[in-house]
Amino acid sequence: MGKEKILKDIQDIATDPFAYIKAKKVAGKKAIGSPLADVPAEMVHAAGFLPVTILGTNEPIVKAGAHLPDNACSLARSNLELVLNYRKDTFDGFVFPQVCDTTQHLSDIWRMTIPADFFASFLIPRQVDRKSAKTWFYRETLRLREQLSGFAGAPVTDAALRESFRFYNEVRALLRELYGHKRAFPGTISNREMFDLIRASLFMDPADLIPLLKAFKKEMTEEKEEKRLLPVVLSGIAVEPMQLLNILDDLGVNVVGDELIVGSRMIENDVSENGDPVEALTARHFAKSPYSPIRDRGTRLYDHLVTLVEQTRPAGVIYFHIKFCESQDYDLPDLKQVMREKEMPMIVLDTEYQSVTRAQTKTRLEAFVESLYGERENG
C-alpha cells in the first residue's frame, strides 16, 4: 500500500467514522459514545466495547435548538444534533463526562431524550490541584468499571485492562512519532493529515489502526521541504470545522505543537502497564496538559502555552475559540495579555461547527499568516 492509499483510508474514517462504526457493529461490537473529554477509552475497550469520542457534526442544527438555547456552545449543540438527528442508531450506550455547566445539563438532556441501553455519568473532578481530586478520580473510575462490567455481563479484568493499555499506548506512541516527524521535516505530513490521524484514533479500534499507522510510518521520508514553512502553535479545545486545517496548509504554515484537547492532549501520555490499572489511569489523567474548564494548579493553564512556545519556537499562535464556550471566554483576555508580554503574535478565531466556509475566518487567517511572514523577513 502506498502512502496516499493508507492516508486516504484513515482520512475517510476520520472525516466520516460512521461507516466504520457500522461495520464494527455488524461484526458484533457495541459502540459506546462519549463527548469530550477525559473518559478513559481503555476502560470501555477492556469491557469489550468500541469507544467512540463524539466530536459533533458540521451539518445544520435542526433538532438540538429545541433543547439547547443558541447561547450554548457550538460543540454541545452540534454533539446533541449529531445523536438526536443524524446518527440516531449508532450508539448502544454512553459514558458522559461533565466539565462545565453546559455539559452538566447536556448530560440531563441527553439521558432524557436519547434512548440507549446504557448511560453512565462519569463525574470527573473539575479541579486537579488537590489530593482529593486524585482519590475521587480513582473511585469514579472504579465506579465506571463496575457499570461497564454490568453492561458487558462480565467483569472488566486487570488483564483485559492491561491489554487495552498496550493497544492504546502503541497508538499514542506511533502518533507521537509521526508528529515528531512532521515537526522535524515540515511538509512531509500536512496539518490536516496529522490531525486526521489523531482524530481517527478517537473512533477506531487500535487493532485496526495500528497496522495502518505502522505502514504509514514506513512510507515516511526525510525530505527537505521545498519552501520554508512557517511554524505555528495551535491552542484551544478543537479545530472545527476541520477545513480550517486545510486553509493552514494552503497558507504554507506547519503546526509544530498544539495544546488542543482534540490534539496532543489525547496522545501525550501513556498508561503504565504495571501495577494497579485504575491507579495507572488516574496517574495518566493527572499528567495531562491543562484543560480550560478544569481548575488547574496556579496559573498552569497559561504557563503551559508559554512553555510550549518556548520549546517549539513558533512564529505565532493560533487560538481556536468555540463559539459560546464561556470557559474559553474567561481565559482569553488574560491569555492575550500573557502572549503580548512574551511578544508572541496570537490570533483568536471564533469558530462554529456549522460554518464550514466562513470567508471572514479565512481572510483573517491569511492576514495573520502574511504578517508573520512579514515579520520573519524583517526580523
Binding site: 439547547l68 447561547n71 462545565c100 440531563d108 482529593s132 482519590t135 473511585r139 481548575r295 464561556e326 488574560d334
Partner: protein, 412 residues
Amino acid sequence: MADVKPGMTAKDYSRQLTKAYYEGAKHARENGKFIAYTTAVSPAELFYAHDVIPIYPENHSVMMITHRMTAELSESIERKGYTSHLCAYARSDLGFRELHKSPIGGIPDPDFLLACNAQCFTLTKWFEVLARRYNVPLFVFDTPQFIRDKKAREEIITYVEEQIYEMIESLETLTGKKFDFDRLKEVLEYSRQASILYKTYLDMASYKPSPISIFDALINMAITVYLRGTPEAVQFYRLLVDEVMENKVKKGIGVIENEKYRLYWENLPIWFKFKDHFNFLASYGAVILSSLYVHAWSYDFDPSNPVRTLAENYASVFSNVEMEERAQMALDLFNRYSLNGNFMFLNRSCKAVSFAIHELRDIITEKTGIPALVFESDMGDPRFYSESQIRTRLEAYLETLDQLAFEKMRQF
C-alpha cells in the same frame, strides 16, 4: 453586630445588619481580619468559624444591577475583550474592578477565593480571573452532580468531605491559626436555626391569600446568604416571621388584593424589573409566590456532625441535582403552595440554572396540567431585555389562564 432594639421592624434590622456587615468588611484589614470571596452557595460556615469575613461578589453585583449600572460596567470590560454573553454578575463585578463604580463604595479586595460549583461553573472561571488579578489562592470546591445513584452519592459525599478538610487546611495556612471544630458546631447551630426560620418564612406562601410574594423573599433572602452562621441572622428571621404572622397572616391580609393566580417562577429574577413585574401582575390578580432559587438557602444542618452535614447540604442544592429530581423539588412547591401558574425564565446570564429548562417544563406541565410560559431574557443586562415583548407574552399567558379557568367553571 447589633441586637434588635424594641420597636424595630425586620426591615430596619436588616438595613442595620447590612450596613454593619459592609462596614466590618471595609475595616477588616485594620482589625487584622482576612477577607474571603465566596459564592452564594458555599460552606461559608467555615469562614465564620475561623473568623474570616466572607464577601459575596454576587450580592454586590445584584446591587449594581438594581442601580442599573450593569450596561456601563459591562461595556468597560467588553472593551478589554470579555464578551457580553457572560453572566451579568461576573460582568458587573469585573466592570466594577475597572471603573471602581459601586452603589456602596465597593467591596474590599480578597485574600482568598472559594468557588463552589454546586451553584455553577461560571463562578469558578470568574474567580479564576480574580485569582490572577489579586494573586491570591483559589479553592474550587468541587461538588460533582448529585446523581440519583446511592453508591455514587455516598462517594460524592466522601469527596466533598475530604475537600472540607482541605479547605480547613487552606484557612489555617492563610491565617496561621488552628481551626476550631467546636466553634464550627456553634456556627452551624446558628445556620441551622436561621435556615429553619427562613424556610418557615418562605412557607408562608402556603397561606391563602399569601402574605408574601417572591419579591419579599428575594429581598429578605440576603441576610441568610451572607450572614447565616451568625446569631444576628437567627434574630432577623425570628423577627421577620413574627412580623408577617402578626401583621398579615392573623389578619388574613394578602400581599395583593383579589389574589387569583399563584405563580411559580423558574430561575433568578430579572433584578432590575422585579418591582414593575410585581405591579403589572398584581393588576391581573396574579402574584409570583415562589421559586427553587429562593429555596436554595433552606438548608437542613445537623451540627453534631459538622463536616458531613456541610457536605450533604451543599452537594444537594437544586442546581446540582439531575433534572428529574429538580422537577420533583419544584412540584413540591406547586403542591405545598397551591400554585396555578408557571413562568419559566430562560436567563441568558445563567446557563447553570437555565439549560435543560424544556425538559424541566415537560415534567412539570405533565404532572400539574398547568401550562408554562417559557421566555428568554437576561437577569441583569437591560440591553437584552425587551419590555414590550415580555409584557405581551406575560399578558397573553395570563389571558390563557383566564380562559382555562373559565372553561373549567363551565364544565361544572
